[in-house]
C-alpha cells in the first residue's frame, strides 16, 4: 500500500467557531488510530493544510483518554460569522476539509485500518 490514506478513513471531526477562531475536534474511529494520528496529524501539518486561509496560529490539544485531539486555528474564518463574505462564516464545513488530509500509509496507519476492518 503506497497510496495516501485520507484522514477520513480513521477519524471523525466536528467544527465549531468563536469569532475568528476555528475549533476542530478530531475523534479516532478505533483506539489503534490514536498513535499514528498523533504522529502524522501535527499542528504544523494542519496549519499547512489550511494555509489558503492564512492562519496566524495553530495548536493541537491531545486527549488520549478520549481517543481524540482538539485543534484550534486562529484567524481563519475571514473575521468570523458576522464579518465573513463567505457562505459558511462559521466554518462548519471545514471539519471535512481536515478529514481530507492525506496520511502516509505507514505501519501504524495500516494497523489502524486493519483494526477498523475487524471492528466492522
Amino acid at each position: 500500500m503506497t497510496e495516501p490514506v485520507p484522514l477520513y478513513r480513521l477519524a471523525f471531526a466536528r467544527a465549531g467557531d468563536k469569532g475568528n477562531r476555528l475549533n476542530l475536534a478530531l475523534v479516532c474511529r478505533v483506539p489503534e488510530a490514536y498513535a499514528p494520528l498523533a504522529a502524522q496529524v501535527t499542528a504544523e501539518r494542519v496549519l499547512a493544510h489550511f494555509s489558503a486561509r492564512t492562519p496566524s496560529a495553530g495548536v493541537r490539544y491531545d486527549l488520549p483518554h478520549l481517543g481524540a485531539f482538539n485543534f484550534v486555528l486562529d484567524d481563519v474564518l475571514d473575521g468570523g460569522v458576522n464579518a465573513s463574505l463567505g457562505l459558511d462564516g462559521h466554518g462548519k464545513t471545514l471539519s471535512f476539509h481536515l478529514l481530507a488530509l492525506p496520511l502516509v500509509p505507514d505501519e501504524g496507519v495500516r494497523h489502524a485500518l486493519a483494526a477498523l476492518e475487524t471492528k466492522s
Binding site: G19, N23, G86
Partner: protein
C-alpha cells in the same frame, strides 16, 4: 421541600438554538413527565447577534426585544410542563427578560395556568460605560478601536441568579444572556446546594450543560455520515436528557422511541465542541478541565461521564459587543452544461473588470458553487487553482462584498444582473440580496460591569 433531598436531577433540552425544531421538546417532556424527582427543561436560543437584533427590536417597540422564537418553542410544551411539575429555564429574554416573562404569563393564562415566572436580569453592561472602555478590553481583534456607537453589550453571566430565581419558587425562569451551560448548572445549584467553590462539582454541572446546550448534537444530530457514521431515524432524532447525580456523575440519554444515538462517539464530539483548550474551558462559574474525563457506555443510548475537574472561576466575564457595520451584498448566477466552468470564469472576470472601473477599491469575493465555495478562501486563491481544470457542469457563481455605501454595493448587484444580456452564453437564475450587517467583538470585562439579579414577575423591581 422534598427536592432538597433529591440525589438525581433530570434536565432535558428543548432547543439548542433559536431556529431549532418546535416539536423536538415534546418527547423530552413526555419522558420527563414519567419520572419522579426534580426535572427541568432548558432552552438555549441566543446566538451572538441575537442580543443586538433584539435590542434594535426593543428600541422600536418597548414591549419587544425578547427572542422571536419564544412562542413557537415554548407554546407546544408549556401546558404539559406546568401540569407535570417540570420547571423551565430559557434564555428567551434576550434584551428584554421582563417583556418575555409577561408574554409567557399571557401564554400560560390562555391555557388556564398561572405559573410563577422568575426573571434574571443584569447581563447587559452598564450603559454609562464609554465604548473606549470596552475597546481597551477587546480580545482577538481591534474592531472597537475608534468606534463611538454600539448596539448592544452583554456579558455571559453565571448560574447563581438562575438558582436564586428557582429558590424564589419560579416554575419558569427567563434570562437574558447567560453562559449556555449555566442554564443547566442553575437548577443543579438550586437542588443540590453545591458550594460555589466546589470546583469539581461546578465543572460537572457545567459539562452537563455543555452536552445539553446544542440539543440534538449529542444524540446523533450533526453527526451522521452515511456508511461511516450511521444514525438511525435521523428525521426523528431525539433531544437529550441528562441525569446528574449529587456526586457530579453525569448520564446522558434520550427519550425512548426517538431516533438518533447516544454513545461514546456522539458524546465525545459534543464534549469537545467549541471547547478550545480542553484543560481550561472558561465559564463565568468555573474553569472546566476535561483531561481526566471518562466516557463509558452503560447500555443502549446511555452514556456516563465522570472525572470532570474544575479550577477557580476567572475574575473577568466574556462580553459580546455588537455594532452596525454597513451592508452585505450577495448575488448569484448559474452556468451549466458543456464548458460551464470556463463560462463561469469569464463571467467572474467580466464583473471584476467592470467593477475595477466603476467601483474602484470595492473588494469582491467570488465563489463558484460546484467547484470551490465553502472550501474557497476570501482571496480566491483556492478557486483560481481549481478553475482551469474544473469539470463541473453545473456551476453557480456567487459574488459578495460589504460596505457602508449602499450605492456602491448596488453597482455590484447590477453588474451581476447585467450578465443576463451582456455576459457569457447561457447564464441564468440570478438572485440578489442586500442585507444590513451587525458585527460583533469580544471583550473580557470586570464582573462589576454587570448586575445579575433574580426576581419573580409581579414583585417589585
Amino acid at each position: 421541600m422534598a427536592q432538597a433531598r433529591a440525589d438525581v436531577v433530570r434536565i432535558g433540552s428543548g432547543a439548542g438554538f433559536a431556529g431549532d425544531r418546535t416539536d423536538a421538546a415534546l418527547p423530552v417532556v413526555a419522558a420527563l413527565a414519567r419520572q419522579d424527582g426534580p426535572r427541568f427543561l432548558m432552552f438555549e436560543t441566543l446566538a451572538e447577534r441575537t442580543l443586538a437584533l433584539c435590542q434594535l427590536a426593543r428600541h422600536a417597540d418597548p414591549a419587544k426585544g425578547y427572542s422571536p422564537a419564544l412562542e413557537k418553542l415554548l407554546a407546544p410544551v408549556l401546558g404539559a410542563c406546568l401540569a407535570s411539575g417540570i420547571r423551565i429555564i430559557g434564555n428567551f429574554g434576550a434584551a428584554n427578560p421582563q417583556a418575555a416573562a409577561e408574554r409567557i404569563a399571557a401564554l400560560a393564562r390562555e391555557m388556564g395556568h398561572a405559573p410563577r415566572i422568575g426573571i434574571v436580569t443584569g447581563s447587559d453592561l452598564d450603559p454609562a460605560l464609554p465604548v473606549s472602555a470596552l475597546a481597551t478590553r477587546e480580545v482577538g481583534g481591534s474592531l472597537l478601536a475608534g468606534r463611538t456607537q454600539i448596539t448592544s453589550a452583554d456579558a455571559y453571566i453565571g448560574a447563581s441568579p438562575i438558582a436564586q430565581a428557582l429558590d424564589l419558587g419560579a416554575d419558569i425562569v427567563v434570562t437574558g444572556r447567560v453562559a449556555d451551560p449555566a442554564l443547566a448548572l442553575g437548577p443543579l445549584l438550586h437542588v443540590f446546594r453545591w458550594s460555589l467553590e466546589d470546583w469539581d462539582l461546578l465543572a460537572a454541572g457545567t459539562l452537563a450543560g455543555h452536552l445539553l446546550e446544542c440539543g440534538a448534537q449529542v444524540c446523533g444530530g450533526y453527526f451522521a455520515d452515511p456508511g461511516a457514521k450511521d444514525v438511525p431515524d435521523l428525521a426523528e432524532v431525539g433531544y437529550p436528557i441528562a441525569e446528574i447525580h449529587r456526586d457530579g456523575t453525569v448520564i446522558v440519554t434520550k427519550p425512548a422511541e426517538t431516533g438518533g444515538r447516544v454513545d461514546r462517539f456522539t458524546v465525545i464530539e459534543q464534549m469537545l465542541y467549541e471547547i478550545h483548550d480542553p484543560a481550561a474551558y472558561l465559564t463565568p462559574d468555573v474553569v472546566m478541565d476535561l483531561m481526566q474525563a471518562r466516557v463509558e457506555e452503560m447500555g443502549p443510548d446511555r452514556v456516563r461521564v465522570t472525572g470532570i475537574k474544575g479550577k477557580p472561576r476567572p475574575d473577568t466575564l466574556k462580553a459580546t459587543v455588537c455594532f452596525e457595520s454597513g451592508y452585505l451584498a450577495e448575488a448569484e448566477i448559474s452556468y451549466a452544461g458543456p464548458n460551464a466552468a470556463a463560462r463561469a470564469r469569464l463571467a467572474a472576470d467580466v464583473v471584476r473588470t467592470r467593477l475595477a472601473r466603476r467601483a474602484p477599491g470595492l473588494f469582491v469575493r467570488v465563489d463558484a458553487i460546484g467547484i470551490a465555495s465553502v472550501f474557497n478562501d476570501t482571496a480566491g486563491a483556492t478557486l483560481e487553482s481549481l478553475f482551469p481544470d474544473a469539470r463541473g457542469d453545473d456551476v453557480r457563481l456567487r459574488f459578495s462584498a460589504q460596505s457602508a455605501d449602499k450605492a456602491l454595493l448596488d453597482l455590484l448587484l447590477d453588474e451581476v444582473e447585467g450578465l443576463y444580456c451582456a455576459g457569457p452564453a447561457g447564464g441564468g437564475g440570478v438572485r440578489r440580496h442586500l442585507t444590513a450587517r451587525l458585527s460583533s467583538a469580544s471583550c473580557l470585562v470586570e464582573r462589576s460591569f454587570t448586575a445579575p439579579r433574580a426576581r419573580l414577575l409581579g414583585d417589585a423591581s
